[in-house]
């Protein structure tokens, strides 16, 4: 029972972390049709900026300032890079962001070195919230989850209850019409891209202290974020929340399951044969825990490509 509760909590928190990073990505895609490969790089930059600022502004100050810096960078990227290639089609935008992710990664390595940096949770926040069974549950994890939920609520309210939100949403669905009505759509694009980048930066600043902050952060989280966004539905915020929780829980629970196809086939009496064949059949689910999201993504793409909560196009 303890195992179950721990897996549940862990899965939720990991899922919320994924949500923090993918929220911005799904908004950007929904708005501009650009699959931003540099999004995970913004996540990494958030962590590195926070690490750099921490000695001067303290941990909380770094958490507030780093996302702003990343947001500004996002605005610059949109204004000077993406806008130029917009006319050539989605493939070019995609490849541009891909090239940018390379550049950002290499620049980080150039300035900060190849090894992980010492960006750690400050001692004041590093305590246990409660105990489950024999293990502590760290408070910082709950904080991460709290930040993610707050982010979700804030964005949701912003998009649905404010004037700015209405303009943004109309620019997502009917950019030409919104422009014709006199709204500055390019400015909205810039703002959304910057906001999305800032969200990723905040996720990086918060998570980088808990996990490691190294130049390969972007690669590690990057593909998972895409899986989340695709499964949830490109452009849907609620879908991103749902799919990130789903993926977090699946990954977390799979670790505890030591069964493989052999056990499944044993139910119909083919267990011995499957064991003899080996290879794919004897692969335990727990070893595949990090691979399952891809299988999920494939399944969703084949059965319901618009994602769990995306619009049916």
């Amino acid at each position: 029972m303890d195992q179950f509760v721990v897996s549940l909590l862990n899965g939720c928190i990991y899922g919320l972390l994924l949500f923090m990073v993918s929220a911005g990505l799904t908004l950007i895609f929904g708005m501009m049709g650009v699959l931003n490969f540099a999004h995970a790089s913004f996540y990494m930059l958030g962590a590195y900026f926070a690490f750099t600022l921490q000695p001067y502004t303290g941990f909380m100050g770094a958490l507030l300032l780093a996302p702003v810096l990343v947001g500004v960078l996002g605005v610059v990227v949109e204004r000077f890079f993406l806008r130029r290639v917009h006319q050539h089609g989605h493939a070019h935008e995609l490849l541009l962001t891909f090239g940018l992710s390379f550049i950002i990664g290499e620049l980080v390595k150039l300035f900060y070195g190849n090894y992980p940096v010492e960006y750690r949770v400050p001692a004041s926040l590093d305590f246990a919230a409660f105990r489950i069974g024999e293990l502590n549950y760290p408070f910082y994890r709950m904080l991460m989850g709290g930040v993610a939920i707050a982010m979700f609520v804030m964005i949701f309210l912003l998009l649905t209850r404010t004037r700015v939100g209405i303009v943004v949403r109309s620019a997502i669905y009917r950019p030409r019409m919104a422009e014709a009505l006199g709204h500055n759509v390019p400015l909205v694009f810039m703002g959304v891209f910057g906001a999305g980048a800032a969200l990723a930066g905040l996720a990086g600043a918060v998570a980088g202290a808990f996990y490691t902050t190294n130049p390969n952060m972007a690669l590690e989280l990057g593909v998972m974020v895409f899986v989340v966004v695709v499964v949830g539905g490109l452009g849907s915020l609620e879908g991103a929340m749902l799919s990130s929780l789903l993926i977090g829980l699946v990954t977390s629970f799979a670790v505890g399951i030591d069964r493989s196809l052999v056990d499944l086939l044993a139910l119909v009496g083919l267990g011995g044969w499957a064991q003899g064949v080996g290879g794919l059949f004897t692969l335990k689910l727990s070893s595949l825990a990090a691979t399952l999201p891809f299988a999920l993504m494939l399944l969703v793409l084949l059965l319901r490509p618009s994602g769990l909560m995306g619009d049916k196009t």
Binding site: N114, F210, Y211, T212, L219, M224, T251, G256, S286, A290
Partner: protein
């Protein structure tokens, strides 16, 4: 910081390359050329850079005592672009540029490519063989089915590390009776898991549970930590490196897991700095600990630090020591018709002995594996040498001499001497 050894950068202009090739063929007293085909860029670059530093340092010493055949030994550096395909290209380039030896350490996948390329080159070009000095690549197969005559290993391997680690921790009674094997799901991790289980009966501990997780994909180790806690193991034995090790330890610490960690790569630069106090009390098995080597160790460390800017840790000591063996062997290798002959060098290398601050090392003839002393250390604030700018370091627990630490030769290694 920059060594005096002339470095031959591969020339990319066709005409110049042709001219150089002609010129090289014309000279009689040909210098020895050692090519480093290493991962110098990309994610694994930090480790590759350490190998490069170690090699430069070692060759400076060899050249300071006269080089080989009256000429300084030349170092050629190639970046394998992070993968086996790039390594294959650079090996061909190195051999075309006249390399007599190829050195590589980071990543077993690259080592696998290089050793096979060298073996096939030697089969096709008898009399012009190339030697592969494997200073990393610790998967068991390199002393098993992939061993061959012109391949020599200077680093420990999975079984060797486990024998030393488990043996010492058991003898010092810090292991407990129940062990959890946590490893990455690829040949290295699988080898470590197998070795951990293998030594259980003879050393008297039980492996209560084991996990093979995806390599470099897991961000959140807390489910695994929960599994460890559920198994009630006293020690977690892991071959994890890089992020997989750091995240595992951090997750364990934040969950308040009481189990001890017995690792193979905790001494990688940056680990202690990043983990902080989380690392205290955990064990590592490695090939060198300066504190255990006393005054000789201090001299060794200071010299290396002065010349490379990096204290010798992780992969540097066994690489530098292995190159000492090469230096000794080179003194005993005569040129044949003015040129380097791998067939004359290998027996000299197998017969050579070198002294290191922790004891003597030599090459075993059966599988060309180095017999080297192994040390088990614990992370502590009492250590003499602090690492990563923290107040912690590795305090030696026990040193096993070369012969003590050596594990049996694998049956799968069938080495045939060429006629």
């Amino acid at each position: 910081m920059t060594p005096a050894t002339p470095r031959l950068k591969p020339l990319r202009m066709a005409a110049l390359a042709a001219a150089a090739a002609l010129a090289c063929a014309a000279t009689q007293a040909a210098p020895l050329k050692i090519a480093l085909v290493e991962t110098l860029s990309g994610p694994a670059a930090p480790t590759g850079q350490l190998f490069r530093m170690s090699l430069r340092y070692s060759l400076d010493i060899i050249n300071a005592s006269g080089g080989w055949n009256g000429e300084p030994v030349q170092l050629m550096e190639y970046d394998n672009q992070g993968g086996p395909a790039g390594a294959a290209d650079k090996v061909k380039a190195a051999i075309a540029d006249g390399a007599h030896m190829i050195v590589q350490g980071a990543a077993s996948s690259v080592a696998g490519q290089i050793t096979e390329d060298v073996r096939k080159h030697n089969l096709r070009n008898p009399g012009k063989e190339v030697v592969f000095l494997n200073v990393g690549g610790e998967a068991n197969e390199f002393v098993g089915e992939k061993c061959h005559y012109f391949h020599v290993r200077f680093s420990p391997y999975a079984t060797l590390r486990m024998k030393a680690l488990m043996g010492v921790m058991r003898a010092e009674k810090v292991m407990g009776d129940e062990v959890f094997a946590m490893n990455q799901n690829y040949s290295w991790g699988q080898d470590i898991e197998k070795a951990t289980i293998e030594y259980g009966p003879s050393m008297g501990y039980k492996v209560v549970d084991k996990v093979l997780h995806d390599l470099n994909k897991v961000q959140d180790f807390s489910p695994y930590v929960a599994k460890i806690a559920a198994s009630k193991a006293d020690t977690v034995v892991t071959g994890n490196w890089g992020n997989d090790l750091l995240l595992l330890m951090k997750a364990a610490k934040s969950a308040g897991l009481k189990a001890r960690f017995a690792t193979t790569f905790l001494d990688q630069p940056g680990n202690i700095g990043n983990a902080g106090e989380t690392a205290l009390g955990h064990y590592v098995v490695h090939s060198f600990n300066a504190e255990a080597a006393g005054a000789a160790g201090e001299k060794y460390v200071n010299d290396i630090k002065a010349k490379t800017g990096q204290a010798p840790t992780f992969v540097m000591p066994h690489t530098i020591n292995g190159m000492r063996l090469v230096g000794e062997a080179l003194k005993a290798t005569k040129a044949e018709a003015g040129n380097f002959s791998a067939r004359a060098f290998i027996p000299a290398l197998v017969a050579a002995k070198a002294s290191t601050p922790l004891g003597d090392i030599s090459i075993r003839a059966a599988d060309h594996q180095v017999i080297l002393p192994m040390v088990v250390s614990v992370v502590s604030k009492d250590a003499k040498y602090k690492v990563d700018g923290t107040d912690m370091g590795f305090k030696p627990v026990k040193v096993m001499s070369g012969p003590e630490a050596a594990a049996a030769v694998f049956d799968s290694c069938k080495m045939t001497k060429p006629s």
